[in-house]
Symmetry: D2
Subunit: 336 residues, 4 copies
């Protein structure tokens, strides 16, 4: 088996999961190099997985032993790293969101067009067995034509203020909502108009950085069909990602709220646990996504999730944030 030699940039929480996946769970890949601006961290992870370590992402990108680059560094670094990697001719995977601004994201899209280098956008939900099965069933006509898209995303607790700061996270619509906006496009097509509301209802500190802890966005798709996305950074009981497609022949609901298959039945009460967080819910999806990236590169298949998908999901998120700020509905297609 020819293995793809991968370099990984960014060793934060998710980066370390990617390091483990690339090293131990994806047979067609070898993790050959890791980079993080925190050099100590890079060296530690490099040692753990027998990979070259550097604090200079550019060195990793230009390393001739690196066949392909996986980028999971902070969002504001995506544009320069992706552009550099594409220009170096290295097939590149980049975690969502593509960037904090549409201008940056479009620069990335332009680099992809100009270089013709393979690029795959990270939206792991598309690789979750639940969402993948739902897509397949819908494509096969199981529920007829979907006409309403409903999505709920609940984090169990708010992130740190420094993470939530819209200057680095993009704010609740970009940081959390982009997953649901991508699902909306995947299942239903482009969105024409968005109306959104948001508020600081539970975590007053979030107001100091300008983010919301709860938000709701209604979507009007280009052909008039409807959608709604509700987001909370304070689900409290656990991590709950639920999506519904109402179709002319039926409805599909994806999601679950119990982690361990145990019911505890005590006096007058029956209880179970909850899904702790995104790693438990989407562990398999993350692995399958990287596997798919490696397969696509090795077999010269087109990327199933493109920079265009990243740009357009970001466009909805940016439009939603503007609608929320202005109280007006916002035309997505003219949002820049």
């Amino acid at each position: 088996m020819t293995r793809l030699s991968v370099g990984l940039i960014g060793l934060g929480r998710l980066g370390r999961v990617y390091a483990r996946d690339l090293s131990t769970r994806i047979p067609q890949v070898r993790l050959v190099a890791v980079a993080d601006t925190n050099g100590d961290l890079a060296r530690q992870i490099g040692a753990e997985f027998d990979a070259l370590a550097t604090d200079d992402p550019s060195a990793l990108i230009s390393n001739p032993n690196v066949d392909a680059v996986v980028i999971v560094s902070p969002t504001h670094t995506h544009r320069p790293l992706v552009v550099e990697s594409l220009r170096a001719g290295k097939p590149t995977f980049c975690e969502k969101p593509p960037a904090l601004s549409l201008a940056e994201a479009e620069t990335m899209a332009a680099a992809e067009r100009q270089t013709g280098t393979f690029f795959q956008m990270g939206f792991m939900r598309r690789f979750d067995p639940g969402y993948a099965a739902a897509k397949k069933q819908i494509d096969e006509g199981r529920i007829g034509r979907p006409f309403v898209f409903k999505a709920t995303s609940r984090d169990p607790f708010p992130p740190s203020l420094s993470y939530a700061d819209p200057k680095s996270s993009g704010g609740i619509f970009v940081d959390m909502g982009i997953h649901d906006f991508d699902l909306a496009r995947w299942f239903m097509g482009d969105v024409a108009k968005v109306q959104a509301v948001g508020g600081v209802l539970v975590v007053p500190e979030l107001a100091t950085v300008g983010d919301h802890d709860n938000a709701i966005a209604t979507l009007t798709f280009a052909d008039g069909r409807l959608g709604v996305v509700d987001l909370t950074r304070n689900g409290l009981y656990g991590y709950d990602i639920t999506t519904e497609l109402l179709g002319t022949e039926g409805t599909i609901r994806v999601g679950y709220i119990r982690e361990t298959p145990i019911l505890v039945m005590t006096r007058n009460t029956i209880a179970h646990d909850t899904v702790p967080y995104f790693m438990e819910r989407f562990e398999r999806a993350y692995t399958l996504q990287l596997q798919n990236f490696a397969d696509n590169v090795l077999q010269r298949r087109p990327a199933p999730v493109t920079i265009h998908d990243g740009v357009e999901a970001l466009r909805i998120a940016v439009a939603a944030a503007r609608s929320c700020a202005t109280g007006q509905s916002v035309d997505v297609r003219s949002t820049t």
Copy 2:
């Protein structure tokens, strides 16, 4: 509408429910008389529902204004009252179990044969919308031919010692199990052999009256198919009646464990309530059963649940109790 004038004998817990049903929920019936050996109780209930009250069941039975008799008095009184009522030519309904001994039950069966008077045995589960729908679907072939019968009956807490005393309740197999044994016969046919175990595992006082708090009986049907019934007097979390039929084309499971349609989702836990007790679970079944009795009498239809059904369910229960006592499997058909 011609209404059936009904007399009700026995005003204990269930008797009072029957009084309410007969008075207010069954349009085709009029409750004209109530009897209980506790005359004060009879007078109180009689006043509440505008019915004649007496402490003498025989007076009720012989009252010419009473068209039909419903008997829900303690089990040891079933035989004499049923026989008297049948001999008086009054269509009679009697709550399960028919009697504490097979000899008594067979005397009742003989009286029914000799008098030709209408008799209906009370097994309310057959009138529960869940069980009725399961029966219909199985009869229509939805799961092919059922080959295994599984039933679980859990009371939330043990009854009083005086109630549990096998001398009045018949013991756990007769008192609780008879419902499941009747379902077994209804869904699968006659039982040839039973093996049972039981124990006093949680409520030591039960040992003083000779009852068990937990028991399990395996059934071999006449044609070799299999069944299992497990019983507990100490379900604790709530009342849980679950029945499964495994068939050649599928399985049907009847039962539920949540009473109120509420999920409460708190930190790391999702919980709901439980079914409190049999009145909540089978309230509708009790009403439908009495309605069915009235319709059968008024429209001269045969009883869907006969004294034979009562005798045979009791026979399995008695055989199970013997198997439990002896540690040997017991032939049901030769049990007397």
Copy 3:
């Protein structure tokens, strides 16, 4: 027991259910008169329940044997009938929505103020054991302070065009949404702003009368908390009413989607049935609501659901319809 002699106006689908409830399920009430402009229907129902029948609602209202009036006639008749009944000094119950326009509803409120006659607005969900238990638990602090309200209402199939016509039904926001808007107020308080979208996505004929088959409304409560209501006239799989309250200490979800307690498990598939329609889902709530009305009148207790509740829920519905028509968010409090 003193019984309340009730007259019932309106014998359509729901009216006949009320007739049955008033006659047979509510001991403290006697149904003494029924009225419907369809005199044949009135006579038929009157005969069935031993009640006086008339095709003239005014005659029923002025009948001295009628202590209290229950109005379940078409919405456009609510205002004149309620005003007449209140002026006649008869305690009055009126089914939702109070009227098709705010002006009419406010006329009804004025009549109630001027006459001081008892009036109770019909919002049966408040009497559903599920919603009532949720309210109780929230009031007791089980989930802390609720900060997001989410409601989904799905009818299994669209109504007739003549029913759906906004000139008689008020349109999807008034006809269906008003239940959710009332719940929003009941659980969270007054709504300041609403944004809504709607469309004819599945049932093109609805466009001919000017109604929508699907709609979504986001709510901003007076204190900034958020809500969202999604409505479909074409749930298809069944009737599904689900409501969630997200609170600072947890979330409560009310609703269920299985009618009969049966799982059917066939090759690779486990299935159950669905809730057919509102009568199955809220049968008990309707009965409890009328019982509550009778108790309130007999015991001179204030109405738990007032004309003010009707007016304010209607105000949100009217605001939502306007937002949907204009694409702008609408201030609820200034909506007239």
Copy 4:
């Protein structure tokens, strides 16, 4: 990291899963050799995972590069291979059941005692996150003292006749039931008495080899507590492993019946898929079990599942088979 060099014997269905796990999912292990009497198969799997391949298990065991041996060959080969491996001083893992007869299993136990070599018995359910969490909660007192053990094991379809043949599989009680009998001992302690019934109810061909397709065993534990295990080789709808412990303070139920987190809601029906088979249900448990084996060997920890556990679970299975054959209850402790 010091890695354990493991040799794997047996490359059937489960053996290939173990090969993949040992090669790619367990960082602390290296798969260095594989053996199967089918030499072509051995060479193919060896090539796939860069491991030495042989058709001679003894050669693998004596290979000095093999630190530890994992045995997942057919049951009748367990005894000689385990004994040989233990005598060679190689830490050994052997898949359940230990052997087809108690005599063989006891020979294995004797070899373990005599050599003092590390041995771990394979009962993967103990490593399933659901069962492990249940055990932990019960040990922590969450349900008080368990007094009834209930277990259901359903295969979705019968195995091949050659597999089912009791001469190689041990029959339904040994092949399937041993998992439940091990759980019974793990949760509750030793079993004193077993009563069992079985039959060929659905798959008549099974009669030709002398196996049953359905069976039920009731257990009386040494201290009088009760248990029941029901087994079917024809669950049909899917793979369903459900276990309940009733305790003095509550009940714990472990199990699930939906594989993919999708509900499909069509007209009047809501459906989901089922768990296909044991690999989907216990994939993680198998991996965790091998990981645990490697950790125990590397860290010189005692085996959490011993040959004694294997012998005693087999003893219950053999006793159940005898009870089923004779119709008598069987004393487990005197079963040889």
